[in-house]
């Protein structure tokens, strides 16, 4: 009963309040977004709660995530450092934040295995955040003595100068494992091919759909799109984090159903069987 109130009644009342509030409390034009945000958040929250209450969650094995620990182990055995590249964007990109959350886990592994870690960064504010992330990860593993201040260092803000700098590090120091986790653009292949040429085990992850093919070609493992965002939850293994992934999957099922529905109704509208174009609810500036 409590669950029913929490996950059905509250969102329903919120939506009622949003649409029927008599005063102009809400901005116009964001209705579809609001409905989507409310539904999505409550679905994710519901599965987080379920996971917290002990519901078992099956997670499809993701090779790239499993290989992370192996890569750090390999670097340790070879006595070579691990290179972690957090992309070239600032903290206003969710990819950079995801990259930093994964860095927290990788730094924990390097602390545990006593492997060297190098994090060259492109944006100064990311450098500060990455430093904190690494420092805390080493502290949490009880190995703060291994943390060095120059582990995370600034290279340059310029995209290709940064690529040249990171390539230089790869060619000189020959890291055994290279992680590319963050937002990447045209420099992705330049970096990944150099890593490939030195024989490093490479694990990439990005939300830049145009760069995924390059990483798939040149790296050993690649986290594609949403896998990349789920990696941190996956690595933490905590039920509530995993629950959010299950919730996300259910939302995806909902999206698929919506796509099929819009497709069918648009087709019916196109053939003149129904008079309402459903897609007009979702699209604004369309020429065709």
């Amino acid at each position: 009963m409590t669950q029913y109130i929490k996950y059905v009644l509250i969102p329903f009342l919120t939506l009622l309040f949003y649409f029927f509030f008599p005063f102009p409390l809400f901005l116009e034009g964001n209705e579809t977004t609001f409905v989507c945000v409310i539904i999505l958040c409550f679905i994710v929250e519901y599965f987080i709660e379920k996971a917290k209450n002990g519901d078992k969650i099956y997670m499809r094995p993701i090779a790239a995530i499993k290989a992370m620990e192996e890569a750090v182990g390999r670097a340790t055995e070879m006595g070579k450092p691990v290179l972690y590249v957090p992309g070239i964007s600032s903290l206003d990109q969710i990819d950079t934040i995801s990259g930093l959350t994964i860095l927290g886990h990788v730094a924990g592994m390097t602390a545990e295995y006593d492997a060297g870690l190098q994090v060259p960064v492109c944006v100064p504010i990311v450098m500060e955040t990455a430093k904190e992330t690494c420092k805390e990860a080493y502290l949490k593993k009880g190995r703060s003595d291994l943390y060095r201040n120059d582990m995370v260092h600034y290279v340059t803000d310029d995209q290709f100068a940064y690529a040249a700098g990171v390539n230089g590090i790869m060619l000189r120091e020959k890291p055994a494992a290279v992680f590319f986790q963050g937002k990447f653009y045209a420099e992705s292949l330049i970096l990944a091919e150099t890593g490939n040429s030195i024989g490093a085990i490479q694990i990439a992850g990005t939300g830049s759909s145009s760069q995924i093919p390059f990483f798939v070609t040149a790296c050993d493992y690649t986290l594609i799109g949403e896998e990349f965002y789920a990696a941190s939850a996956y690595l933490s293994g905590s039920p509530e984090m995993l629950g959010s992934i299950k919730g996300q999957d259910y939302v995806k099922v909902g999206c698929i159903i919506m796509i099929v529905f819009v497709f069918i109704s648009s087709a019916l509208n196109g053939y003149g069987i129904i008079n309402f174009d459903v897609s007009s609810l979702f699209r604004i500036n369309i020429i065709r």
Partner: protein
Amino acid sequence: MKRQLAYFLVIFIGFLTLSGHFINYSPLNNFIDNDATQWFDIISGFAAFLGVVNLLQLHLNKISQKKDNWRYSIITLLGFLIMIFFGFIYNGSSVALGPHLKKEGSAFYWMFQNIYLPLGATMFALLAFFVASASYRAFKIRNFEATLLLISGVFLMIGRVPIGQLIPWWMSLEIYICLLFALIANRFKDKKKMLTLLTLSLLIFPILIFSLNLHDLALFKIPNLQEWIMDVPATAGSRAIMIGIALGTIAQSYRIITGREKSILGD
């Protein structure tokens, strides 16, 4: 306490930003649209100094302790100091410092035109070489999926450039036949039989297509096929990844602003 404050800030600002997108309250909208973003810019601006300090510290340490490859650090520092000198101290043109950065004739402008521009373009141009070596390695007929990748890759490569228009219809047809056989090659146990069948197909199909007057079909024009690959399968794939990324982003953001994702703070 320090840690709790950080969590509180993440959660509070997260929800405030989200609500600013929906609530019609001008101080809140103004804060989200202008103030908060300007704060971020100001903090980023100050962080630039930290970046510079870090760069100097790192390379001065390397030089003073004569670490491996310390000589490269001298070049880095020299580059840094030269740009500072021409950007902030030496002008070389008639206009004031500041506007001189975009004034033809100033030393900084000269360096931008003659050093920075060619170096940037050179690094980008390296992509051509890396794309060549990567495609050479990756485009192998290993299995069905790899073959499909190869086929679309080859069509895109030829179709995107003017040379694709010069390919006559019969050659496109021969390419299709070869690629079709590449796809089904594993199904043939007797390779000699496959080779005979391939040769026969290569000879018969062009005559057949020509006699049926089908050679004007858009299918036999590689640029058209390239456009179709980009507009239909590539767009479909791109959209699927885009939707996945959007959902992943929302779930990740939700975890962060509800304080569940703490690894960014080292937890």
